[in-house]
C-alpha cells in the first residue's frame, strides 16, 4: 500500500517550527550562508514531510491544539501580576513561571513525538551560565 504523507497547512508548519524552537524559515531558499543555517531544519523538515495521516492528526489535534491554548494563556498572566492576595483567593505568585514550564513541557513532548531535538530557540534568549 503506497504511503501518503500527511499534508500540514502552511500555518500548521509555522506553528510546529515555532513551538519546537526552530527559527523562522522565511522563503527557505538555500543560498549562502543558508547551507549551514538550513542544517538546523533538516531532521524536522524531513519528519514533517514524512508523517503518516494518523501521526499528523496527533500533531494537529493533540499537540497544536493544546499548545495554542497554553500559549494564549501566558500573556493573560500579566493581568494578575499586581495581585498578591485578593479576598480568600491567593494568587499563585509563580503563575507565569508555571505556565511557561507547562507550555515548554508540551513543546518538548511535541519534539519527542516528532523525533527531533529541540531547536536552537527553545531556551529563548541566551543569558545562561554554563559550566
Amino acid at each position: 500500500m503506497p504511503f501518503t504523507p500527511y499534508t500540514f497547512t502552511s500555518a500548521q508548519l509555522t506553528d510546529i517550527r515555532r513551538h519546537c524552537g526552530y527559527p523562522a524559515l522565511g522563503d527557505g531558499n538555500v543560498v549562502f550562508p543558508y547551507p549551514w543555517i538550513m542544517k538546523t531544519y533538516l531532521a524536522l523538515e524531513y519528519r514533517l514531510q514524512h508523517m503518516s495521516a494518523d501521526e499528523g492528526n496527533v500533531v494537529v489535534n493533540t499537540y497544536l491544539a493544546n499548545l495554542t491554548t497554553l500559549e494564549n494563556a501566558i500573556p493573560g498572566t500579566s493581568a494578575n501580576l499586581d495581585t498578591d492576595q485578593a479576598a480568600v483567593w491567593t494568587h499563585n505568585k509563580n503563575e507565569q513561571r508555571d505556565r511557561d514550564m507547562l507550555f515548554d513541557s508540551w513543546r518538548r513532548r511535541l519534539c519527542n513525538f516528532l523525533g527531533v531535538p529541540p531547536g536552537p530557540n527553545f531556551g529563548g534568549a541566551s543569558n545562561s551560565l554554563v559550566v
Binding site: 514550564m101 551560565l129 559550566v131
Partner: protein, 142 residues
C-alpha cells in the same frame, strides 16, 4: 562544558564557564563540612541549587524541580571514597568503578583514566580535546 574527574584519590576539575558566548574562569570544586568533595557541571544556577541541597543534607523531596531546560550533574565523593552522581534529580547513582567523570569532557577524561592517567591528567587531556573545557585545573583531595 566542564570536566570533573575522580580517580579514587583526587577530584579534579577544569575552570571554564560560558556566559554570553564568553569564557570565564571559575572554581567548580568544593569541600563540604563532613569532608565530602563535590563538583558540578551544567546550568550553573541549577548546579548551585543541587549542591546546596546536597550540602543541606539531601532531604527527600526538597530539591526543586528544574526550571525550564535547566540541567546539571553533580559528582559527590564521600569521605569513604564512594562516588555518587546526581543527574538533575535527588536520586544518587552509585558509581562502582574506581574512577568517574562528568561534564562535556567526561568521555575524554574517562578514557584517559581507563588508560591509567590520574584525574588531573585526565582533566588536562579533556581540556586539550573538548571545546567546552579548559582555563586551568583545580584539585581536591581528602
Amino acid at each position: 562544558m566542564t570536566v570533573i574527574a575522580w580517580d579514587g584519590k583526587t577530584l579534579a576539575a577544569d575552570r571554564m564557564m560560558e556566559m554570553h558566548g564568553g569564557k570565564f574562569p571559575v572554581s567548580k570544586l568544593q569541600r563540604l563540612e563532613d569532608g565530602s568533595l563535590m563538583g558540578g557541571a551544567g546550568d550553573l544556577p541549577r548546579v548551585y541549587e543541587m549542591q546546596n541541597w546536597i550540602a543541606d543534607g539531601r532531604k527527600p523531596g526538597e530539591l526543586r524541580q528544574p526550571v525550564g531546560d535547566a540541567y546539571a550533574r553533580v559528582l559527590l565523593v564521600k569521605p569513604c571514597g564512594t562516588a555518587l552522581v546526581f543527574a538533575n534529580n535527588e536520586f544518587p547513582i552509585h558509581i562502582l568503578r574506581p574512577f568517574v567523570a562528568i561534564g562535556s569532557g567526561q568521555d575524554y577524561a574517562t578514557t584517559a583514566m581507563h588508560l591509567g592517567k590520574s584525574a588531573a591528567e585526565a582533566v588536562a587531556i579533556a581540556s586539550e580535546l573538548c571545546s567546552g573545557c579548559g582555563m586551568g585545573i583545580d584539585l581536591l583531595e581528602f
